[in-house]
Symmetry: none
Subunit: 102 residues, 4 copies
DNA sequence: CCGTAATTAACAAAAC
DNA sequence: GTTTTGTTAATTACGG
């Protein structure tokens, strides 16, 4: 929201076309904000749908006999940079050695 | 590949014995796995696109003079309201059931 | 051990010859790391104890004739109420600040 | 509330003789439930405190120059080792029992 | 025991 | 840059 004009109590922001002079910048801003919020909420919903789809694929995959954890790991590894992976592994080895966890 | 011989009863992972030439069960399973992984990676990509869209909307909103932090808080509150309504309904259902008011 | 000091090309963290009295920087770092790990493991253990306590209370409650699912839902609702109140307050503060009502 | 006629043999549900007609079994049950809920909420709070402590230790550890990700991995590995050991021991016990080596 | 639901850890992103 | 904060993955616990 415009930081100064702040929140109206009702939040309805209905623009009355028959009373054009009552439309303050406040209600305009409220309407704008509402529009932004609705766009975002719509996108969040879509994103959630995709997340659910992913879950379904994993379920299907599991039903076919594959291991979901291993598959997730695989996908993560594919995304991970190779050099990064090596570095992380080296660090872990270093720590293990220092603790005698060979 | 499937950990075991596809311990499910549906037998989807079973290689086709009528096509013994060249395609082993291993390669079939590998192909299946690859297909699953590609589906998932595609979905992850789509999801990331939406995340980027959301980011853009926040940027636009900010450019219009709104406060992103406050807007995020608002959206979170609206989500909490929804969740709370759902919980209340669930609890009410529990009570109704326990009173035989199915 | 600390990331930087171990990053030598050989990775061995060779003992300091000017401090011949047995304790190398490596063993010091290892001791430190071990101490941190033990503190964390101790805390994790304590936390698990509490989780078990909670489980016991639910069992007792169930034995008294209460419904655990409904009770869990209730507790969740109470937590959501608290969280929501906190969020509303945070939002209000944001508004107040933006209006210079510090 | 207790699903059925509630508190039976323990005597806790006995009406207060000084307010015999106003205290119903319902209010007694409500009080009991409230007590259970408060106990649980208290425990949850304690558990959260410990979780926060753990976070602090990680912060301190990081400040000393250690890598938190590697350390977390290490701790996880140690727990797995322990679990494995426990399992192995349980198996050994089983074998001993089956051989009458109690 | 199996699937679901809650908690915890890991990772990614954004504010200061 | 760094240090939270928010999101996603994985573990753990619970009820059916």
């Amino acid at each position: 929201m415009p930081r100064r004009s702040a929140a109206t109590s009702d939040g309805k922001a209905r623009p009355n076309i028959e009373e054009p002079e009552t439309e303050t910048s406040q209600t305009v801003a409220a309407g704008q904000l509402r529009a932004f919020i609705e766009r975002i909420e719509r996108l969040i919903e879509e994103r959630q749908t995709i997340t659910d789809d992913i879950k379904e694929v994993y379920a299907e995959l599991k039903g076919t006999g594959f291991d979901t954890v291993a598959t997730r790991t695989l996908i993560r590894l594919r995304r991970m940079d190779q050099a990064e992976r090596a570095e992380r592994e080296a660090l872990l080895d270093l720590y293990k050695n220092s603790l005698g966890m060979v």
